[in-house]
Symmetry: none
Subunit: 200 residues, 4 copies
């Protein structure tokens, strides 16, 4: 019962293009990348790209959609097994930095290329990104209800803070010419996030 006649290869080439695109976008930037560069990197002809994607735009969009929904579903699965809101936030932060820290090209595209136009940004923040932020927000609200987190804070703002802090760690890591592991920074961030910086 071979699977070789099944449909898995359709997406194999789509996958290859996507991977090639990330590499190319990460290397020279979205606007400076040519479709021909992507095709060459993927080892296919220029025209073939258009059998799998509507446009250059569509590649970036598709990449984001998939990466984000992967990330979110993976996150939800992991979070389902965790009890306390504090541990949940910890896991979110760790996942965030682990995932991006494991693939520099992906991180570059997320932190830099995806931000390069209001058009993309608005579209993205309207999509998966809002979902992501909402998971954090809900966890914080849950913690407040349980009395674990301060009740005088607006959950959405706190969520943005955490996201912003993590995001900045990634951006700095991506732009830094030094090479250091990203994931461990999650704990540093959480130390402040949970306890504040004041001595008392």
């Amino acid at each position: 019962m071979s699977r070789s006649n099944a449909k898995p290869f359709v997406s194999d080439k789509r996958e290859a293009i996507l991977r090639a695109a990330i590499k190319v976008f990460a290397g020279k930037g979205y606007f400076n990348s040519k479709v021909a560069d992507i095709a060459k990197e993927a080892g296919i002809a220029d025209g073939t790209v258009y059998l799998y994607f509507k446009s250059k735009d569509d590649i970036l969009r598709s990449f984001f959609d998939r990466a984000m929904s992967d990330f979110i579903s993976e996150g939800k699965r992991e979070l389902a097994e965790i009890e306390g809101p504090e541990d949940k936030l910890r896991r979110i932060a760790q996942l965030h930095l682990e995932r991006l820290g494991a693939d520099r090209d992906l991180a570059i595209v997320f932190q830099v290329e995806l931000r390069g136009s209001t058009k993309f940004m608005e579209e993205f923040s309207a999509k998966g990104f809002a979902d992501y932020l909402d998971i954090i927000r809900a966890t914080i609200a849950e913690g407040q209800k349980l009395g674990v987190f301060r009740i005088d804070l607006k959950p959405i703002i706190v969520a943005k803070m955490l996201y912003g802090a993590l995001d900045e760690m990634v951006t700095n890591w991506v732009l830094s010419h030094k090479s250091y592991p990203l994931a461990p920074m999650a704990d540093e961030v959480l130390k402040v996030f949970f306890g504040g910086i004041l001595t008392k």
Copy 2:
């Protein structure tokens, strides 16, 4: 006592181009903006742009250089008059959000357009941005020495956290279709930053 012999108009046109460019960049994105758009917005001929700037690139760069150095020098001036590190950080956060919250076009360019290419990003983060982050870091280190801030935190990471949190507030504000004042969020951020989110 006429001012007519002064030479105030030399930079007037340069200024006009810069303002027009920010407006145009904010509206359609750097890569989608044509030099002709900027010229028309500034009410001058296309070629005139090149009497004041070397290239389209140079306009964005010049804008950033000036905005950043203005911001930093203004910040240093204000901070010089403030005593405690806690108040200093508070003022930094307020200035950050006041300044960007007062000019949406400027904010859009800072939050979105300036991030759109590793080339710009690396150049920018190497310049004024690093100075800015360093001011925050130094203030935190100062607070640690004075015993106001926890000594078990790495100042540079804490600085990035604060910056990242503020940055995220601005980005959300810029992309949001709702219209709300940005500056007040400084206090919300600081509440968490100073005190953490845990109840105890």
Copy 3:
């Protein structure tokens, strides 16, 4: 026995562009010719030109390279079958004028457009042109060795003289609004060249 599997069309378009370019350059001058003019003359899209040539410059250069090497190899082939140096020079002069006299556009580009910038001139004189002049020089030196030509003359100067004389015939012919056959002038030139103008 179909030719449909042959690959004869690869250079057909390149050839067409080259021909179109010569016609356009001859008509309005290299600097006044637009790439779009060439494309239209060749019946292709503007961008297609760049599939076959690196730049507008490259078209002129390619034209010269090919014309010159064709000319030289044809000349060498013909000369190989000729015995005496006198007859060789005669054949060179005839070929020179026949070839250019047969294609006015080609002649215009050679006599006028190719001379329009020291950049081109230096490049061209460094290439095929020097080879051409050297063939004449060698033939003259050979004649001197055989005692057919005067020994008190410097071969390289005599070669330049002959070339210059022929060149001037072509230039005059190209610029003249009258239409007369160019080739017959070879004999006129040679009459003087061989015998001098003095009566004794």
Copy 4:
């Protein structure tokens, strides 16, 4: 009786522009030279050029007109004092090479820049150049009438030959990276021109 209020300064600046233009044209070619380059070389403002010349074109044209008429009137003056056609031709050849050999910039413009477009070429050959060629032709015809030159040669063709030979000497000298005196080549050319290259 001072001449300082007379009109000589009008042409002083015109003269300066012309000189500057020759230098600039010789250095970078007519099409690559900017009017601003010429103005700077002449030490005046860009706009001032247009007080003395209608256009960039007009500068080149004016230069040629003046140089050519100077050359011809000087030639006629000198020739008037010479008796035999043989000596006349010798003097013409010497003057030709002396004049151009004495001013490399002028030579470059004459040999290279002036040839760069059929437009210029046709105009020039219609003007002073035809006069120049006619002086040579007339001298040859005169020599034929006097029995000094062979009667079986067409004077106009012989004139073009001499001109072409001299022209080639100048072009080679201009393009050569070696530095040698040009004027002495006149005698070399004439040796062939008068006596032919055959031993008998």
